[in-house]
């Protein structure tokens, strides 16, 4: 295998076409350069230079080797640069999970935008997942960070959560529903209402919060439809299928036909948080976590 040092010497000599000047640029003595070029010609097995009457020029083989040597040196420089950038977390790939409500909330886009600006060469792979599966995937190393909700039902070892923004559950009602006339909805008023709620499988945390809330007020919610995704939940409320309980942070999505009201007698915290591995040495992950923390405080 040819040494990069020999290729670099050859490229400089080809530029100068003068052993003395090339050696000077390389900060070596002229005999050392002569030796390097001879070694290169020996390894390739053909003369790269014509040395007639004290003037040197490239042979046809030399001209071809020059072009390839330049590419090799460029690639070597690129290899070095990418390694250095990766070490600083500036290239690579980050697997980012998010719960549906984070995807349509205000904070996650701000964090992604800030990260894209500071780390334009890091590819972000976005995956919509429920809280439990995200935490498991982060523990398993298949996900790097995840926008989740607190409190989680359980937290696997090696995973931590950084609370980002407090949020609480609000009632979503079809426009024109009698309860929409109230400024705030008493929880007990939901006892007789058809409800459109998230799948227990997809959002176990949210469903257990809602079940607990209703249980404390002495009833079990009448779920007329379980739904796998928040956009569809909002649509079904708009279509008049029933009421729902959703994080207040998505109320800014003014979907026509849906009215949001706070609960009158309950404050169910449903905090947005970033789950990650605190011991993760990857600089891109650490940068993402700190940007998320900064965006949350902004």
């Amino acid at each position: 295998m040819l040494e990069l040092k020999l290729l670099r010497s050859f490229v400089l000599l080809a530029e100068e076409l003068h052993f003395g000047r090339a050696a000077e640029r390389l900060h070596i003595v002229q005999p050392a350069l002569t030796q390097q070029i001879q070694s290169l010609e020996r390894q390739i097995g053909t003369p790269l230079l014509n040395r007639a009457r004290g003037r040197i020029s490239l042979t046809d083989a030399g001209a071809l080797v020059l072009a390839e040597a330049r590419k090799t040196l460029e690639q070597a420089a690129r290899t070095e640069a990418i390694g250095r950038l990766a070490g600083r977390g500036e290239v690579g790939k980050l697997e980012v999970g998010f719960v549906g409500s984070a995807g349509v909330g205000a904070l996650m886009p701000a964090v992604l935008r800030d990260f894209r600006r500071s780390h334009p060469a890091v590819e972000l792979h976005l995956v919509e997942m429920a809280v439990g599966p995200q935490l498991a995937a982060i523990a398993a190393g298949t996900l790097d960070v995840g926008f989740v909700r607190l409190p989680p039902l359980s937290l696997p070892p090696g995973v931590t959560v950084l609370p980002l923004r407090p949020d609480s559950l609000v009632a979503a009602l079809p426009a024109g529903h009698p309860l929409a006339a109230l400024d705030a909805i008493p929880v007990a008023a939901l006892a007789t209402e058809p409800m459109v709620l998230h799948h227990r499988a997809g959002a176990a945390e949210l469903r257990s919060l809602i079940d607990d809330l209703c249980g404390r007020h002495g009833f079990t919610p009448q779920v007329v439809q379980s739904v796998p995704q928040i956009s569809l939940t909002v649509r079904l409320v708009a279509a008049g299928l029933g009421l729902s309980l959703l994080p207040g942070s998505i109320a800014w999505l003014a979907v026509e036909g849906v009215i949001y009201r706070p609960l009158a007698d309950a404050d169910i915290q449903y905090t947005l948080a970033l789950a990650h591995r605190p011991q993760d040495p990857a600089p891109a992950v650490r940068a993402f976590v700190s940007l998320a923390g900064a965006a949350a405080e902004a």
């Binding site: 998010f98 549906g100 995807g103 349509v104 909330g105 996650m108 886009p109 701000a110 992604l112 935008r113 894209r116 972000l124 792979h125 976005l126 995956v127 919509e128 799948h199 007329v224 439809q225 379980s226 739904v227 796998p228 995704q229 928040i230 956009s231 569809l232 649509r235 079904l236 708009a238 279509a239 008049g240 299928l241 800014w252 999505l253 003014a254 979907v255 026509e256």
Partner: protein, 199 residues
């Protein structure tokens, strides 16, 4: 996954529930390929997909919603205030695109439309569904091309503009087993096909 934001889907579910209150509807969300496989394997009875499928033996596809594609721009974008635009005017923009696995058909439609407009979009981010995609457009990560129904998400931070020509469509397609025997499924298919005729 890319169809859940469309009001037509919610109305279909509501009306079917009203007509067939004894039938429990179990809703699942998955990628395009997995949904068609699940219908073929009888794991699901029907699937609603974004974009037409290739012919799948034993399955019937029926277009229930014909929807045009719109340009989505941050409200602060210089072009956001103007009327219909040429896709070519977005040639130098960063693009957010629906993930290929989530909507391979609509992904291909958008890429082909850009090519036809004389450019290859610089994709800075793929997003697995349209609502978060639109939300990211609003945050200034780039521009997108989205189905018209996303308009009703009412995001102040985003403007949807008609595309000149406007011949690029992202239909919603109902996929079901051609030889379906179950009445409950046949009723749902019949109702969807009737509802398709009345936009």
């Amino acid at each position: 996954m890319s169809v859940t934001a469309h009001p037509w889907i919610a109305r279909l579910i509501r009306d079917y529930r009203a007509k067939s209150p004894g039938v429990q509807l179990t809703l699942e969300m998955n990628d395009f390929g997995q949904l068609t496989d699940a219908v073929r394997d009888h794991t699901l009875d029907v699937a609603l997909l974004r974009g037409r499928t290739a012919e799948i033996p034993g399955l019937t596809s029926y277009t229930v919603v014909e929807e045009k594609l719109m340009a989505a721009l941050p409200a602060t974008h210089p072009l956001a205030g103007v009327g219909p635009i040429d896709l070519a005017q977005l040639a130098d923009e960063d693009f957010l695109l629906i993930s290929r696995s989530a909507g391979p058909n609509v992904y291909d439609i958008i890429i082909a439309a850009c090519r036809e407009a004389g450019f290859s979009p610089r994709i800075v981010q793929e997003v697995p569904a349209f609502p978060p995609l639109l939300n990211l457009v609003g945050a200034g990560l780039g521009v997108g091309v989205v189905p018209d129904s996303l308009r009703s998400m009412g995001l102040d931070s985003v403007r949807l503009l008609d595309l000149k020509g406007g011949h690029d469509k992202a239909p919603i397609v109902l996929v079901y087993r051609s030889n379906e025997g179950a009445t409950a499924v046949r009723d749902l298919v019949a109702q969807a096909r009737r509802a398709a005729a009345t936009p």
